[in-house]
């Protein structure tokens, strides 16, 4: 059922980048616009710095030496103040840019997290069954972190470089076309080096990522099994296994970082070599009196032009160097972004239901009227095609007719299941792991949709009922008790958010949880950690029963816990469940036959089919599978 992990090679990089930019732009149009303006200003600042010195040399120092300082004083001061103004503007825009980027980056990441979470909550259960928890988590942590790097560093850096490079390029053209050609040649070298070295680096970074995942998996397994390792004195063997994986990681990490570390000096020194080449060629051209062709026309080549060109060419190469440092971030960031987009593109759970659950008043003659306040009665509000509203009392009558189901079309896991549960009846589902017990309850709550057949709730096809209302009318006590970080009270109130404290206490009493809660350090206000580690398994079950009790729904689905809890708590749990079941339609997924003997009907399941049905006595008389299970001849699990 699990999906293969995303292959980094298959990511369409430009499409992902385009989408990322669009996404970013959607939320921060104005601010991004300001950012771009700021970037232009600071690029102008950076470029003018490089010609500023030459201006001073040509217009101030050289004439100043010959004619004395006084003669150039005015020009000098003008030039300095022009420069100071440009610098001030560049500084202001740079400050603004950096502040805005901090705001945009964090705001955007927050938005991405929110969008992902919102999307995740709407996804069908099948998504969570098909994806590992760790993989989903890593989208929130690693991928969002990678995105952070791209948004806050890489993209602005790219933009900045683009502007610098274009600016300097035109400036160079306006100085000399020959020399510009030399610079362009060096760009070819830079691009080649980046593609070669940077490409290798990215390749190994991705490999490193895989090795880390592998090592993490190994460590995780061994850490969780550390006690078994110890009991079997298996330490040395596991150290050897570990070494092999660890060496692979070393190898990938070393190569990835080597290439990344080499790229910087290479590009930097291509810049230095370029400097020398420009100097030589420029001087030779000057000496040979070759006329200089530039955007300004054809003139004699001046040595001042060559000198300013030198500074520009260095800056030009340096811009490329800065971009090349971002390549790995970009590759990783785009891979992260595409995983985030994959999550955002998942198909949400659809809901075509139009029958809703409403508070109702039921008069003595049985007519139902809708009200807006709590009456302890509910009704299904069913708008018919002819515009008429039909109200049906919520009773908890559930019927499955010839239901087939498969997780994919080719392979059915449930065949021809029919179950009729009248209000207040207790139906037990018995069978081995994988027989399809839990799947049936997943269909009643529409976590999955049927392949064939029909399920009716109080006579209404459940496909017509709004999913939220359907689920609200069914209480769940699941096998794994999931508690949430918060107080005990919060956790019980999860079943009914507007419940008063009294209702919470009442529910705790029904579930037999009241006594142990009162013994906790802060009673109902005791904080629980997410996995409820400070409670025992049995206590957690009691809380989940209380949570179901406060919901007060007419239908109850009970997935018994498999893990053994001690006899005393088990009795408490059993009592609590019995009280909860009273007067409700109940589906029990049983792991212990002792608890289901009083069921109205017991369904014995095997490989997706009901192979025996009846009550305890009739099934015992039948001497079939149930009888064998009951007498311990078969394993239940």
């Amino acid at each position: 059922m699990r999906k293969p992990p995303l292959n980094l090679k298959n990511i369409n990089k430009s499409a992902t980048l385009k989408r990322l930019l669009k996404y970013l732009f959607r939320y921060y149009k104005l601010r991004i616009f300001i950012v771009i303006i700021c970037l232009i200003f600071s690029a102008v600042g950076g470029i003018s710095a490089s010609i500023f010195i030459q201006q001073i040399i040509d217009n101030v120092i050289n004439p100043g030496i010959i004619n004395g300082f006084e003669s150039v004083k005015e020009t000098f001061i003008t030039l300095l103040s022009v420069m100071a103004t440009i610098y001030a503007l560049a500084l202001i825009s740079n400050t603004l840019f950096n502040q805005l980027m901090a705001i945009i980056t964090q705001g955007f990441l927050c938005q991405v997290r929110k969008d992902m979470f919102k999307k995740m909550e709407t996804l069908p259960i099948s998504y969570f069954d098909q994806n590992l928890r760790g993989d989903i988590m890593s989208t929130y942590t690693n991928d969002v972190d990678a995105l952070r790097q791209v948004v806050s560093q890489t993209l602005p850096q790219l933009l900045n470089t683009l502007m610098m490079v274009t600016g300097i390029f035109f400036l160079m053209l306006s100085f000399s076309i020959y020399l510009t050609l030399i610079v362009l040649c060096s760009v070819l070298f830079i691009l080649f080096a980046t593609k070669k070295i940077g490409g290798n680096s990215s390749k190994y970074f991705i490999k490193q990522q895989k090795s880390i995942a592998k090592e993490e998996g190994f460590i995780e397994e061994m850490m969780h099994g550390q006690k078994v390792v110890k009991v079997f004195c298996h330490e040395e063997k596991s150290i050897e296994d570990f070494k092999i994986i660890n060496d692979q990681l070393f190898n990938d990490s070393m190569k990835a970082n080597s290439y990344a570390n080499i790229l910087g000096p290479v590009i930097h020194n291509i810049g230095n070599i370029l400097y020398v080449v420009v100097a030589i060629v420029g001087t030779i051209l000057f000496v040979l009196n070759v006329p200089n062709i530039s955007l300004q026309g054809i003139k004699k080549l001046d040595i001042g032009i060559v000198v300013s060109f030198l500074t520009m060419s260095r800056q030009f190469a340096n811009s490329f160097n800065q971009v090349s440092q971002q390549i790995n971030s970009l590759v990783m960031g785009l891979a992260g972004a595409s995983r985030i987009f994959n999550l955002l593109d998942e198909k949400s759970e659809t809901d075509d239901g139009y029958v809703t659950l409403v508070n109702a008043e039921i008069s003595e003659d049985g007519t139902i009227t809708e009200t807006d306040h709590y009456t302890s009665h509910w009704a299904w509000k069913h708008p018919k095609k002819d515009g008429q509203l039909v109200y049906t009392e919520l009773k908890g009558d559930i019927q499955l007719f010839n239901v087939d189901f498969g997780y994919n079309k080719d392979k059915l896991v449930l065949h021809d299941i029919s179950i009729y549960a009248n209000p207040g009846q207790k139906i037990a589902l018995v069978g081995a792991t994988g027989a399809g017990k839990t799947t049936i309850t997943n269909l009643i709550t529409r976590f999955y949709d049927l392949a064939d057949g029909k399920v009716r709730y109080d006579g209404i096809n459940i496909n017509k009922i709004k999913k939220a209302d359907l689920r609200r009318s069914i209480a769940f006590v699941l096998q794994d008790t999931n508690l949430f970080t918060g107080t005990v009270k919060d956790n019980i109130r999860y079943g009914k958010l507007d419940a008063s404290d009294e209702e919470v206490y009442e529910a705790a009493k029904i579930a037999n949880a009241y006594d142990f809660i009162m013994r906790l350090p802060q009673g109902f206000d005791t904080m629980l950690t997410s996995d409820g580690a400070n409670l025992s398994q049995g206590q957690r079950q009691l809380l989940s029963i209380a949570r179901a009790a406060i919901l007060n729904a007419p239908v109850l689905i009970l997935d018994e816990a498999t893990s053994s809890i001690d006899t005393r708590t088990e009795k408490l749990v059993q009592d609590g469940m019995d009280k909860l079941m009273n007067g409700r339609t109940v589906f029990v997924i049983a792991h212990r036959l002792s608890t289901i003997q009083n069921s109205n009907a017991i369904m014995v399941m095997d490989h997706g089919r009901i192979i025996e049905r009846g009550n305890h006595d009739s099934l015992i008389k039948e001497k079939g599978t149930y009888y064998q299970l009951y007498t311990g001849a078969f394993e239940l699990e």
């Binding site: 101030v60 120092i61 030496i65 300082f69 300095l80 420069m83 610098y87 500084l91 502040q99 705001i103 964090q106 990441l109 927050c110 929110k114 979470f117 909550e121 259960i125 989903i136 090592e215 993490e216 397994e221 850490m223 969780h224 550390q226 110890k230 079997f232 150290i239 570990f242 070494k243 060496d247 990835a256 970082n257 570390n261 080499i262 910087g264 000096p265 290479v266 020194n269 230095n272 070599i273 400097y275 020398v276 100097a279 000496v287 040595i303 709550t445 939220a468 699941l478 999931n482 999860y494 079943g495 958010l497 997410s530 949570r547 919901l551 053994s564 809890i565 006899t567 007498t631 394993e635």
Partner: protein, 591 residues
Amino acid sequence: MIKTILNCVREYKKESWLSVLFVSLEVIMECVLPFMMKLLIDQMNAKEIVINKILIFALILLIMAFASLAFGALAGRFCAIASAGLSRNLREDLYKKICSFSFSNIDSFSSSSLVTRMTTDVTNVQMAYMMIIRTAIRSPFMLIFSIIMSFIVSPNLAWIFVIVVPFLLFVFILIIRFAMPRFKAVFKKYDRLNNSIQENITAIRTVKSYVREDYEIEKFNTAANDVKKDFTTAERIVALNQPAMQLSIYTLNLVIIFLGANIIMKTAKIVDGEIIFESLSIGGLSSLITYGIQSLMSLMMLSMIIVMITMAVESLHRIKEVMETESDIKNCSNPLYDVKNGDVEFKNVSFKYNKNASKMALSNVSFKIKSGQTVGIFGSTGSSKTTLVNLISRLYDVTEGEVLVGDKNVKEYDIKTLRNQVSVVLQKNLLFSGTIKENMRWGNESATDEEIQKACIASCADEFIQGFKDKYDTHIEQGGSNVSGGQKQRLCIARALLKNPKILILDDSTSAVDTKTDALIRKSLKQEHAEITKIIISQRISSLQDSDLILIMDKGNLIAQGTHEELLKSCTVYKEVYASQNSIQGGNQNA
């Protein structure tokens, strides 16, 4: 702290030093380069251009550029090797250390925190080490060399550096001081946010069945906004880095140009139509600016590295914590390598998990088991049954009293010998990813196929293994998720039997096995492995009733011991439970 790192650099010391060496050489090259460029420009600005001179300078520059490239590349490579090597050694040491931990050591770190320490924290240290031996050497070197070079170029102007550099340094320190605590605080919040996501993924069925999606989204949005607010504040402080840096560079540029131009114009003389620069040349001016940018840049790099290092220090602390934890269970100086027989005796044993705990997990427990006996231990959850048996194989050490195996205190044995002779099937048992055979060989690496099958027959595992397509080569997935609970337990018993122990402890190891198979396993253990002392913990009295001795535990106390018949007469708790289990499982007894 530093010692921990140096210890783990080990064979990569050479690469580390080479990296430092080449970084220094690269820095020297990079600092001399602008100086040579100045000389070149001066030549070009000379009235009479001498091509040869220019070519010579160009050639020198070219050589230096290639040298700088070579040094840079070598430094990069060596430092990648050294840092990746350090992280390899760190992980290996950590892993070895953790393998040497006792149960109580493992309890004190949670296993998920150990995983984080071995992955994220080690990666942080690796990156920091790379930074240190490369950039952290490079930046101060660069700073110092640049300043030295600028003093060589012009002592009249270089004093500006002495003002600007400390100013910038001060600003950076200020930024770090303000930003770091905020980052630390927000990272904690961020962890909590991620925890709540994880919680939601795990509990998605609960969320959906209670139709709480909107409520959860609302809750998440509030938390996410909170994190955003704090992160933005912290990042905005750090974002002042760049402008501060630029302010310094721009100021430096303006001041150098202003003063430099003045100096040049005042000192330069025209002799025979050629300009002679007395103290500062035009080329010197532009090289000064380059040095200015270089030194300030390296200062900024340094400040960024400091932030990175402070973060890595936290990671290193967590690593060190593991490294410095000494296993509290160690071999004595002259350990025994032979366990005589399977006798077990507890003499007034008391135990608590934590020295500071006020409550004893076991108090004053005494009993005696003869080799080959079958002993049942019964009691409710929290009655310390598991604690009791864990003391036998010295998974924990007693707080008071003595545990004897084969008439010797367990502390006198070599731990490996003891644990090989006392085979425990843990309550929370695990199979590892690999084939059934591979899993079985955990018990005995050199076990033959026949021996494996024999053990599996004894634990009633052979019957279902034969039903698998690949039989003993069937692949078990991580955590044994592709076999049922009962099958897993039977495999774990077989694995323990393969050790051929003198004492076998089954800690609630047949809870998911049906009663009939349970009985069969016990029967085969009794017949085939009569010499082994068998200690069985169970909630099911039917699993224990034919034991030679049954110990009844309650809240860490041994409240009764005796055979089934004796206990039925003497122990009311036992009698009650027996009666209730018998009525529930009435069908079983009648069958």
